[in-house]
Amino acid sequence: MTCKAAFMLAIVAVPPPAIAHHSVTGQYDPEQRIALSGVIRKVDWINPHTYLHLEVTNDDGSTTNWRLESAPTAMLRKARITPDMLMGGGAVVTVDVILARDGTEHLAWLYRIDYPGGHSYQLSAER
């Protein structure tokens, strides 16, 4: 892990409700769970899954762009969550994610976003 903000979290095994178009655990590994801090630069408001682009600043000042996969748009819409809300106004946010099983770098499934004001969006059950 090259990002100073990343650290391993405890794993809690909770049977998930199925909210995904495909099997999340077929693509992402719940045992590789990390937290990242960065700025959400873009939201791909697409189906079958939305993607958030998180820019993380590394120790040497360079940046890494992470792709964070999340719920379908209709589900976010039913929770009254919009792309602008997800963006968080360019503030540094903390995300709770699990990494891609196939080793693709900087690709993860998004559990939750915590914003500096104290509010959060929990977008997926733990897998």
Partner: protein, 270 residues
């Protein structure tokens, strides 16, 4: 309750959700009379939350925080309701190996995973219904896109000059207070479910829709005797009148399948 710093999602859920108007209207109002058109038939007009064939979304709002999934605390006694078993058609024995093969290779074969139209009955109940005396229009807000089906109620039969399609050709009629929709003329390129349940172009689907107050019940039966051992009666689905309107569907762009590490892709009940 959890003892972590996470918000207490469950607390105040009902009150907050009600205040935000996010519960199905029927759930808010309880029982109500079934409205009818001037002609006397049930009025099916409205937008209906059917759970998208996956899960009903019951977001929890707490201040500015929103929880979309996994919001409730794990049951202390392990008394969580067991998931329903898969609802699947039964095939003639000579076709079961093909179903099993397609199922094992779902990542490679399932049309829905590639954003194709789900077909009927896989698309499920309509998300919105626009009804007139002579026709009913079903509108869908699906992860694969927006779809529509126009269902004439005064047709003498199915047209013979239309190109076979993913959603087929539908005609409807009223059987007392039940809307009965028969659909034929499929192109055979969809699946009945997510597990390799192929069908032939001769598939015939009969849907039956009833309204009770602000609740819609959708039943469907698939007939395809060339491959099915018996007609498949789907598990009924329920939809609730909702104040959340459907919208233009964003594009469906598949980005995941190349990253799947096995072929057991789908964990959805539809």
């Amino acid at each position: 309750m959890r003892t972590t710093a996470k918000p207490s999602w469950a607390s105040g859920f009902a009150l907050l959700a009600l205040a935000l108007g996010n519960l199905p209207v029927g759930a808010q109002n309880g029982e109500s009379a079934t409205p009818r058109l001037a002609s006397g038939v049930p009025d099916l007009n409205g937008t209906w939350d059917n759970g998208s064939g996956i899960d009903f979304i019951e977001p929890v709002f707490e201040g500015d925080s929103i929880c979309l999934a996994g919001c409730n605390d794990p049951p202390e006694s392990g008394a969580a309701a067991a998931p329903l078993p898969p609802d699947r058609p039964r095939y003639r024995s000579e076709f079961q190996a093909r179903v099993d093969d397609l199922d094992a290779r779902q990542v490679d074969e399932d049309p829905v995973l590639r954003c194709f139209t789900p077909g009927v009955p896989r698309i499920g109940p309509p998300d919105k219904i626009v009804q007139r005396d002579a026709e009913i229009v079903f509108l869908y807000d699906d992860v694969s896109g927006n779809f529509f089906r126009i269902v004439p109620l005064d047709a003498s039969g199915h047209p013979t000059d239309t190109v076979p399609g993913y959603l087929g050709d539908a005609i409807g009629r009223w059987d007392d207070d039940t809307l009965v929709v028969e659909t034929v003329n499929f192109n055979g390129e969809t699946w009945l479910t997510d597990d390799g349940s192929f069908h032939t172009p001769d598939l015939r689907v009969v849907e039956r829709i009833t309204r009770d107050g602000d609740t819609l019940t959708w039943r469907a039966t698939a007939y395809d005797p060339a491959v099915l051992a018996e007609p498949w009666n789907l598990r009924p689905r329920t939809a609730y009148l909702t104040g959340i309107e459907i919208t233009e569907a964003p594009p469906c762009i598949e980005r995941d399948l190349g990253h799947m590490v096995d072929d057991s892709s789908h964990d959805n009940p539809r």
